[in-house]
Symmetry: C2
Amino acid sequence: MSDFAADPSHPRYQSLLLRHRLEEAEKQGMLAGSAMIAHGRGEAYDYLLGEQTIPSAHEATLHALRALKNAERPIISLNGNAVALAGEQLLALAQQLKCPVEINIFYRTPKRMSALLERLETIKKERSLDVEILGASPNARIPGLKGPRAKCTKEGIIDSDVILVPLEDGDRCEALVAMGKTVIVIDLNPLSRSAKMGTITIVDELTRVAENMLLQFDSIKMSEVSKTYDNEEALRDALRHIATKFSD
Amino acid sequence: MSDFAADPSHPRYQSLLLRHRLEEAEKQGMLAGSAMIAHGRGEAYDYLLGEQTIPSAHEATLHALRALKNAERPIISLNGNAVALAGEQLLALAQQLKCPVEINIFYRTPKRMSALLERLETIKKERSLDVEILGASPNARIPGLKGPRAKCTKEGIIDSDVILVPLEDGDRCEALVAMGKTVIVIDLNPLSRSAKMGTITIVDELTRVAENMLLQFDSIKMSEVSKTYDNEEALRDALRHIATKFSD
């Protein structure tokens, strides 16, 4: 990241920084062919949200954090874009949760897997983190999915009770929900199938969510776990927020 | 494009085909680093439009076609994504209009220019088209723009009266309008600066617009040129159309 020289006061700094991270990740072979297009779709929705954490997303973030902290076996699932955009923050979050992360990618190739593993190992070393990284040697399958995308580990995704899946595809999200897990989705499009399928859906940009979770980690009170969180209402709130962009 | 093997009855066929065209163009060095991200943003807005030509966009397309046919010196400006996605259709349209096209790219490098020229020459040969391709040897600048992105030709963009700029950036769109030209913008985001700046803004996907113009080319009556076309109203209509996606 050392050659990124944009001025932090530039109004598009954050957006340029995220693009830079993706470009670096692409050079290192971490991304699928569709990664940049997916990021562009996210950019469009983030623009419609005003590139900010709206109150209902903040509420969903806190609820998700409580679920992760209360979990018996929490896990963070990582794909190429998640590692590229927020690998450092998500490993730091896993360290706090004392949980493993698992690389679980849609287009699985040995080259991509090793690029992602290498990147995560580098972050661990640089930040002196002690986090178990699963996914290199899958020994189980997510029921209901076909092909390489079903591959996962028994000790990781299969046995988890609460799973954070940033930027997940709809099919896999649905399959994880069908396994009875609490599935925490981070997706900028409140209309996506993942967003609708998730147990807790955070309609916000991944790096903001990860930062918010790290900031709130210690101060959040477990006794305040809300029983009344309504995911559908949170999605409706995001839709209403976006709709104001399109009203006269 | 011969190795694209998706099934045309696949519900995402058109979307996959466009992605395939971009991937091929990227391999050939035609695209800027941000091209895929820009396409992803377009995909998001097209999804919100229902991946269809809405009536106000069709009206804008007809109005734009009339303006091009009535122009004294029409021209079609081409960037990397426009050539990749609709190069064949846009050259066919230029042939019908008996006008030149001009390659006018934001991130100008000799490698990108020659890749784009080569692609256009291939299309001309394959389709036996007789269209002048400008832009290889710029001899003028668009007033008000800085750096290489201002480069253009006197006999092309400078002397044109009506210019079709698919997928244009806001600055250049504004500069062309300031020159007194009729600027026809094709942009899926009705909130973009280009969309707001354009004389005639077609809120629709580029290949659908190009196809519609080719289909309507002969049947459109010049005597029916509408004097009452309202670009702001067309944009408001697109916004209303998208807003219904976000209402409860």
